[in-house]
Symmetry: C2
Subunit: 443 residues, 2 copies
């Protein structure tokens, strides 16, 4: 049964009731700020933001800040009842359910929603945006992409009068930390990952990060915003960093590049290409200087030109900052009459398949060290319409065993052509091994 729409306020026009769903790393910081910065938040919102409850799975479990900062009496296991008596609902529990149902319930009851749930938005954003628009309530999600970095609002609002061409994002701090350690300390992937886990920059199960699932959810959200087109996570071509070796990182440096895991959303003549993969970024590109667990999103727009947004992409306090910014906006919008999600999908551009992406590539291969091999390899590339930008041949220590290394950088080529080309090159008798194939971005 759909609940009756809640009264818009407690009856006191100067108070908005806030429900917090989840009290983890982010939720506990949001609760703390609501209590400790109540006066500032009230002055900026135009109303007092009163925390009326915190929904958790087990209200009896001891939690940091509960009983001291946040009264224990605010904790509840009945999230639905809590949602029903709120004007503003903050969802920081994560996961698809019950987050989705609770957000639907909040919207149906006329409450505005602030969420940090990238997985939910990337999977089921459209139904939630439609519901919010119909109810004229806000559905805000700055915290879902790149933590503290204001990127959702700038892309959606500041660039609303412009045409975005491309978004290149370092949106996963764990993988950026790992790749950065491989680059600066020469570690291999497993050692860098183990170190990241020891320092708390990577989870015990790092799959979502290292396989690019987390970045893919953010890529879908960024592409949707940038191109006014609905993009869901299963339309994002995805490749993680598990195939990146210490040798790749060293080879990248020899050609003036660094290896980064990028979330890419690009508008082409044919449609929108959205993908996540490791890429070689020129050392002089602003993204190359993003170190450690930091995030950055580089945006290219017709009018604005290049823009970059840089900051902390995760962590309790940074993410809470983004949640609270959205909360203040949602409160203001509520007081001025509500507005809706502002989600816009009017352009409805086709989302291209993975093999339609067009990029430059660097291919490293081990070949027989004899005359004519380079000509043979170049011929195969030419036959497939892939044109060569540069070749670097190394016969160093390897020449003792009669082999040489080739490093070929191509001009822009279609992913599909490249895959066929690489297979054909691999079939040559003079080619011993394709050591790596990495895309080059940001040029």
């Amino acid at each position: 049964m759909t609940p009756e729409p809640a009264a818009p306020t407690t009856g006191d026009p100067g108070v908005l009731r806030v429900a917090l769903l989840g009290y983890g790393v982010v939720g506990s910081q949001v609760a703390r700020a609501l209590v400790e910065n109540a006066d500032d938040l009230a002055a900026r919102s135009g109303a007092r933001l009163e925390l009326v409850g915190v929904a958790v799975r087990d209200a009896s479990r001891p939690r940091d800040g509960v009983g001291t900062v946040v009264p224990a009496s605010l904790l509840t296991e009945d999230a639905e009842a809590l949602v029903d008596r709120a004007d503003l609902v903050i969802e920081v529990m994560g996961g698809l359910e019950p987050a989705r149902s609770l957000i639907r319930r909040a919207i149906a009851a006329g409450a505005s929603v602030v969420t940090a749930n990238k997985a939910l938005l990337a999977a089921q954003g459209p139904e939630l945006f439609e519901a919010a628009d119909a109810a004229r309530v806000d559905l805000a999600f700055e915290a879902a992409v790149a933590g503290a970095i204001p990127i959702v609002r700038p892309v959606r609002e500041s660039l609303a009068g412009d045409q975005v061409r491309r978004v290149l994002g370092i949106v996963n701090g764990t993988t950026n930390y790992v790749l950065d350690q491989m680059t600066t300390l020469g570690l291999d992937l497993s050692d860098a990952l183990a170190e990241a886990q020891a320092l708390g920059f990577a989870e015990a199960d790092p799959t979502a990060d290292v396989e690019g699932y987390d970045a893919a959810a953010k890529a879908a959200i960024l592409a949707s915003l940038a191109f006014h087109t609905r993009v869901s996570i299963d339309q994002v071509a995805r490749e993680g960093i598990t195939g990146v070796t210490a040798a790749d990182v060293v080879a990248a440096a020899t050609t003036g590049h660094v290896v980064k895991l990028l979330a890419i959303a690009e508008r082409t003549a044919e449609g929108v290409s959205v993908r996540v993969h490791p890429a070689l970024v020129p050392a002089a590109h602003p993204l190359a200087a993003v170190h450690g667990a930091f995030n950055a999103v580089f945006v290219e727009a017709d009018g604005a030109g290049p823009l970059m947004f840089y900051g902390q992409g995760a962590g309790g306090r940074p993410t809470a900052s983004a949640v609270l910014g959205d909360l203040v906006s949602a409160a203001r919008d509520r007081l001025s009459g509500g507005k809706g999600s502002y989600e816009s999908a009017y352009a409805s551009l086709p989302v291209l398949p993975a093999d339609a992406a067009v990029t430059r590539y660097q291919v490293r291969l081990v070949v027989a060290d004899r005359p004519g091999v380079l000509a043979q390899v170049a011929g195969v590339l030419a036959d497939h319409g892939v044109s060569i930008d540069a070749v670097r041949q190394t016969t160093g220590e390897e020449s003792a065993d009669g082999t040489a290394s080739l490093l070929i950088t191509t001009h822009a080529a279609r992913e599909a052509s490249l895959a066929a080309t690489v297979a054909a090159v691999d079939g040559l008798g003079s080619v011993h091994e394709i050591t790596s194939v990495l895309r080059v971005e940001g040029v």
Copy 2:
């Protein structure tokens, strides 16, 4: 006489009438985008944005795009009459008058206003914000600070739930270009400035840029937003780059710094310090990598931590991008019931005098090359409560004439103490010359 409030639309709810005041570098690009991107702007705004007129001083003068992109019939010399028949007014004429009167007139008539006029906002922002709030119309000004870079909206909205501690901005592209050329090519100031003028990065009369007036206006706006406190341009301590020498840039490099002209807004226990001056920035700081005419604003907030926003700070198309983003927001707000300026000055923190600023300093001086001189200088600093972080003494070619160079880096000291200290050091018989005193920021 106050004009009667205009009807909110043409009568057609799907159309909003746009008046453009000014057709210079920015205005011509705004007009072009309004015509060429009309469909996208309509889809994003929720209404067609119809350019109903362009106010210029001399409508008969030939202008790029007029008669081709923009019908010549839209040009008018009667800005007041144009304002009176608009729902949305874009002011890109610059200067204090008639811009101020026209904006007041638009607000009084119930129109929303988008302006790029930093000088006007820094001088008379409060009266305009109050008028907009009273009329519940938008007064948006993203384009007034750092051109295309979304910074006004992120600071005002995204960080509304956070506490900003410090803003360090490279907000003047001309001076950044000049200092960057001095750093990378070893040019002196006059040569670098002449080159910037030849390339169109600096005006024939570069005073507003090189003396820091332009940056000071932006500093006042940023400080007002960041600290919810009204700061006007005459409260900004200002020092331009004319005193920066090639030798300063070289000396900076020896201690791992680059020289940047910074707009600084800082919250201290006593209030708000707002200033513009050349500063030594550590080479590893993200601002140090901002080259050429690019702008960047580095923000430190309690929750979010460090953030940086980077992009083109000037130019027709980039600035027009910011204007159009504001225009789409203003249109949406208008359709959803209007809102106001969202200007917030509730904190009303004291704005501190220039000599209350607290920073680290690097002082270079030429002294007599004999034992005891360093002890003497250090003693004067200690007497004034200024503590030394590092000293570097050079007796190189200069020792031939019996002198040595000292480079002293202090711990944080109050500007007032430093001034008195420098005067006292200068009075020592063993001190031949104070070569430079530069502040160190971003540490």
